[in-house]
Symmetry: C2
Subunit: 247 residues, 2 copies
């Protein structure tokens, strides 16, 4: 059973402020927790119901498994449909951007993405396509938000994510930048080569004008119908697909 | 001001049961409502706050605009961030499937899609790529669910959606069927031609086995990284993109 203060502590991690303060975030579900156990992240503690415990495979023994009641699990879960198991994972310090690391690979650069489901889906999609670096503007939704974590379906464990002032990213001109805008060259006629930054903008307003410069290649997903725009996670997916198929 | 019974009536439409009973659903936001006003749908009534009224452009005068208080709007909205304007729109009767109408075009066929955000995003993406027909299994989430409507960003107004037993769809063998599975031919090497049904399955379980037959072409989005699967709306988007770029 969890004490009142334990319950309060875990519930506090539903909020960004306390995640920052304690350097911990919540991961739920056996599959996602397993991905974090096999990653560079440090799993701090695991809480599960006696019903779910027998379903757990080979979790490392050094991490204490706390068996808790259904009621306690319901109190601490961030999900509408709780999965009976919840872990606290240490949030790594935000890495400093090293533009040298961006050479010879593709990196997604996200400008002010607000919807947690979108960021989570982008992380999952990037992982599918073998892209493992994402740079986010400082005003992009936090990657350790429970809704982001859930939508990544475990892919967060394999993704390197840096939050930074995007102006700093584009100071280095040695890597080509492809920016998703509505009035660019067709993505189907774009040559991506073997490295680059893919810059995608906010759900409502697109990419901030002050980030754009003449050296960037403007790329558009051609419209064949009538919708005014595409969802940003959908755009990101089509970029990832086009990059990979051309290699 | 809205009477208590009017408030209750509109709030009842948050639930599927009452949407079915009254044949009405809720659309919110000026942009989306405008799309429905310019579509084959019948807009039944519009409610907006005095703050939002001046922002409305040229709505047809025959539809009565009910000016209501912020408080009433807050009571009837389905959104976390209400947009100050809400319309009730008549739900058309579910059309009978006519497989002849599927010739010479592409149609998405959705098997048991559960997440409203996914269905909404699929409708929006299909509209972008000029695909205007979607067939849903009877257990797919209802297209008039407020979260679906919201995620379509107005594209629902242009989409023909039929709910039916999918077995009936695949009885007609004259149109090629492409089914999204993990062990098929690469989508990048698939020739789509100029017509077809794209069959996409449930978020967790994929396409129902009993729907599959040997005449279908199994298509896979190749994996370059480590994610176990792609979000279904992302898969749908990559299919739409590949279909269009090859025409």
């Amino acid at each position: 059973m969890l004490s009142k203060s334990q319950l309060q502590f875990i519930k506090s991690l539903h909020q960004k402020k306390f995640r920052k303060e304690h350097g911990l975030f919540i991961v739920e579900g056996i599959k996602s927790i397993t991905e974090f156990l096999h990653s560079d992240y440090t799993v701090h503690s695991i809480f599960c119901t006696s019903k779910v415990e027998p379903k757990i495979g080979n979790f490392p023994k050094k991490i204490k498994l706390n068996i808790i009641s259904e009621r306690d699990l319901t109190a601490i879960t961030t999900l509408k449909t709780p999965q009976g198991i919840l872990a606290l994972v240490k949030a790594p310090d935000n890495k400093r951007l090293d533009t040298k690391e961006l050479k010879n690979s593709f990196t997604l650069v996200l400008d002010n993405i607000q919807d947690p489901g979108n960021l989570g889906t982008i992380i999952r999609t990037a992982d599918w396509f073998g892209i493992n670096k994402i740079i986010c503007s400082e005003d992009t939704v936090e990657a350790f938000n429970p809704k982001v974590v859930q939508a990544t379906m475990g892919s967060l464990a394999r993704m390197s994510i840096v939050y930074t002032d995007l102006q700093l990213v584009f100071q280095d001109n040695s890597i080509p930048v492809f920016v998703a805008l509505l009035d660019g060259k067709s993505i189907y006629e774009t040559t991506f080569g073997n490295e680059g930054l893919i810059l995608l903008g906010n759900e409502g307003n697109g990419v901030s004008k002050n980030l754009l410069n003449a050296a960037m290649t403007t790329v558009t997903i051609p419209r064949f119908g009538n919708a005014e725009s595409l969802n940003v996670a959908v755009s990101a997916a089509i970029f990832c697909s086009e990059i990979r198929k051309k290699r």
